[in-house]
Symmetry: C3
Subunit: 364 residues, 3 copies
Amino acid sequence: MNSLLKEIRHNPLLWLLVFVPVVFAAEKIKPEAYTLLFVLSVLAIVPLASLLSHATESVASKTGDSVGGLLNATLGNLTELVIAVTALRAGQYMLVKASVAGAIVTNTLFMLGASFFLGGLKYHIQEYNRVSARFQAGLLFLSTVALLIPSAVSLSDSPAATAFTRELSMWLAVLLIVAYGLGMVFSLKTHRELFASAESEEAGEAPWPIGLALGTLACVTVLVALVSEIFVESVQEAAVAFGMTPAFVGFIVVALVGGAAEMASAFSGARKDRLDLSVGIALGSASQIALFVAPVLVLLSYVLGPVPMDLQFWPGAVVMMLLATMATSFVTNSGRSTWFVGLLLLMVYLIFAMTLFLLPPRST
Amino acid sequence: MNSLLKEIRHNPLLWLLVFVPVVFAAEKIKPEAYTLLFVLSVLAIVPLASLLSHATESVASKTGDSVGGLLNATLGNLTELVIAVTALRAGQYMLVKASVAGAIVTNTLFMLGASFFLGGLKYHIQEYNRVSARFQAGLLFLSTVALLIPSAVSLSDSPAATAFTRELSMWLAVLLIVAYGLGMVFSLKTHRELFASAESEEAGEAPWPIGLALGTLACVTVLVALVSEIFVESVQEAAVAFGMTPAFVGFIVVALVGGAAEMASAFSGARKDRLDLSVGIALGSASQIALFVAPVLVLLSYVLGPVPMDLQFWPGAVVMMLLATMATSFVTNSGRSTWFVGLLLLMVYLIFAMTLFLLPPRST
Amino acid sequence: MNSLLKEIRHNPLLWLLVFVPVVFAAEKIKPEAYTLLFVLSVLAIVPLASLLSHATESVASKTGDSVGGLLNATLGNLTELVIAVTALRAGQYMLVKASVAGAIVTNTLFMLGASFFLGGLKYHIQEYNRVSARFQAGLLFLSTVALLIPSAVSLSDSPAATAFTRELSMWLAVLLIVAYGLGMVFSLKTHRELFASAESEEAGEAPWPIGLALGTLACVTVLVALVSEIFVESVQEAAVAFGMTPAFVGFIVVALVGGAAEMASAFSGARKDRLDLSVGIALGSASQIALFVAPVLVLLSYVLGPVPMDLQFWPGAVVMMLLATMATSFVTNSGRSTWFVGLLLLMVYLIFAMTLFLLPPRST
């Protein structure tokens, strides 16, 4: 418990934890103040996500390399998963899909780009482990193919087409999870020496004792789930109040909120010239969402959702995911980075964000 | 004749030759048993294709390097060409196009992927001649552009549009054949030293005497043509009986049947750590189909077909060819391979096969 | 003045200057002879463009590296800009867009491809500075994303959609200019050592005195503007007379005319084994048009045009720009070149030109 308090005292981000009780109180008192609830829930999710990721890392570091890698790989995007499951249960499939596509695009373009940019402002040229980056880029390419195919062969809106898309999506989900699992066998077992540099760097902070870590993991997951419910309920109404399109909210706002904790680590890694850490977090997180979170959501929709969810995305989102993957494989080709490489990625992200912000509602 | 018998005795694949007379007999006795005829014709084509490719190599090895390279390059996919010409004469243009697109995708994703995977299970990391792989990837990119453009600028179904697409396709066919020819000048004449490693490895088996080779070439081509006729007649009916869509049959089944012999060589090369051989067969075969077989079929359609055939493909097939080319140029960038690289390619192939298998009929 | 005359005597291209007065005379005498005026204006623009580019380089070389680089970067495509502004003022937005897309495609595929091809015919293998090529390819990728997005998310033809596309295009234009400016900071200031080889080579010819250079710059710009007016007025009518589609004229003819002077330099560089110069001119010119000329035209359309111009291109043009960028980043990956690499690029260009030539009118 002491380590938890010490952590909170030293990490200003965690002071935002005060908003967790505030958001619950506000929801009781003013359940229709959507804009306020939206802002409060965002402020509450950010520190919870940070705690969650620290707890996961602590459990991982205690359980040995393979199990730890597995844990990190499955729970690393727990926040995104919990938010998406909440939206799934509410039947808001458009929000679920937008947040999945948005998380992939945000992690590859914004998180990676800002890491390159911030690191490049301090260091003239930075180098990183190209093998690891290309492995993640390969996984991302595979998932982009899987997410693109249902749209590419999509048919007219007949019942046969809906049934086809659903069945295809279910099998694609199974295949992506299998590919993700085999990717872990490759990177944690058979060829782990290729990923050496990225690995050794990750032991950054002192881990918590296992009991505290497990307890935090359980409690905070419940808290994230409760706050997510308020977030999902208020997000669409708040978007209208702020003049944001639903596409912008799902794609940009949810992705930035869900990934805030990882971004803090990735950026701080880049500023310390530990770019392997940043690239690992950004691309690892993107491929985890594409190959693990997205398919798990499809499979969960059979249990939790009103109808099964498919993997057919809005064509604009497919184009954005494809371009993000192409940009990633283009820039990670060299294993070197300067501020301008980061800027290019950020510019592509800005183009996407701008497009979604200006998009008239009801067109996605 | 002795060498032929010896070959047959040592190669279990050739024992399937017994199905050649069986399929002709069955066609006489039960011409309406489509499912049976389909299975028998597949079993008969596989060993014939293997004989054909051995005969071509033997003639090539006797005629000196340049002529031999030319022969190998023109007759290397004779089986696919004969099957496609048979379908062309029957006016089954959809089957012709599906088998061309399918052969390109199958050779780049399945043949190359399985070679990397099988080789990678035995060897930790395998290396191959990157120059040769990138040369083939460049040719494939060019042909993908050529096959993509008629669909990209396709117009409404007016008579003017049909005439435009046909004229464009004819000129594209001429251009691809010219590019293919100049590619041979490059790889066999002006810059042959860059392709050294791939070349020297190919002299695997003892060649036949020239008389036997030429005789086999002639006889077996006729046999393949005759069996292909039964295959093309029965394939659509059999597909329905097996619950397979026509798209799946053209794309996957025909491509696997036509390429069985080459796959056997490519996989055995990978297991012997001679990956240059595997990459050369897989990508060489894909670019040969794209830049030689496909355009020859377009030009032949003016003579043999009921109407000229164009190069406008089903949009889903264009997307698959484009993604296969992107995947190829992505993985061949490094000149190194592990089992996971092969798995990634196989997964992309599996996604395509699954999509085509589930696709409701009448939608391509 | 002497240096100007000496230049004219030694450069056969400049003898075409005689067509400048001829075209003005012809326009006075026979204003309806569109085919003649078109041919004469083409013949007059080519030497003017050559003078303009020499004058710009002379001013640049006198003003120190940074200002000079800036000048070269802004005025390097002055001919294209003046022609496009003339078309803009005439409200011919389709011609403006086709010439922008065409200039990008022509510079990346034809100018780069012919440089590789011509150089490769003389030298077995040529090498060039890969960093510089990849920097330009990165800029081109960014601009392709910006030019692709309005089409990718394009909506039905409602008034809301038009307003959205216009507003998005304006912001994209601003963003591209900012990216272009920051790219200059990167290549001329913070990381100029990476571009060393390309830089030092550019001081090819003896510069003119500053007074002559500035005077030439001013006078020739006015002349180009006047000739462009005749060119823009006559081009569509002449196209019909020559049996060329409007798409072909805008995409191919205008781009070749506007870039003739740069092509002469790029090809001569390649023949002297100074491939860095050729790659720098070809890709630098392409990214300048994409990131500077195109956005400036969008912003100018608010002042000069009847209505604001957007960045929504004909889908076929978007596909061609995307494929050209992919081809560029594919071939510049290695930093080495042979004649066949150039041929591949030229073949892709030929496919595009052929398609546009055959395209029935009224379909773009």
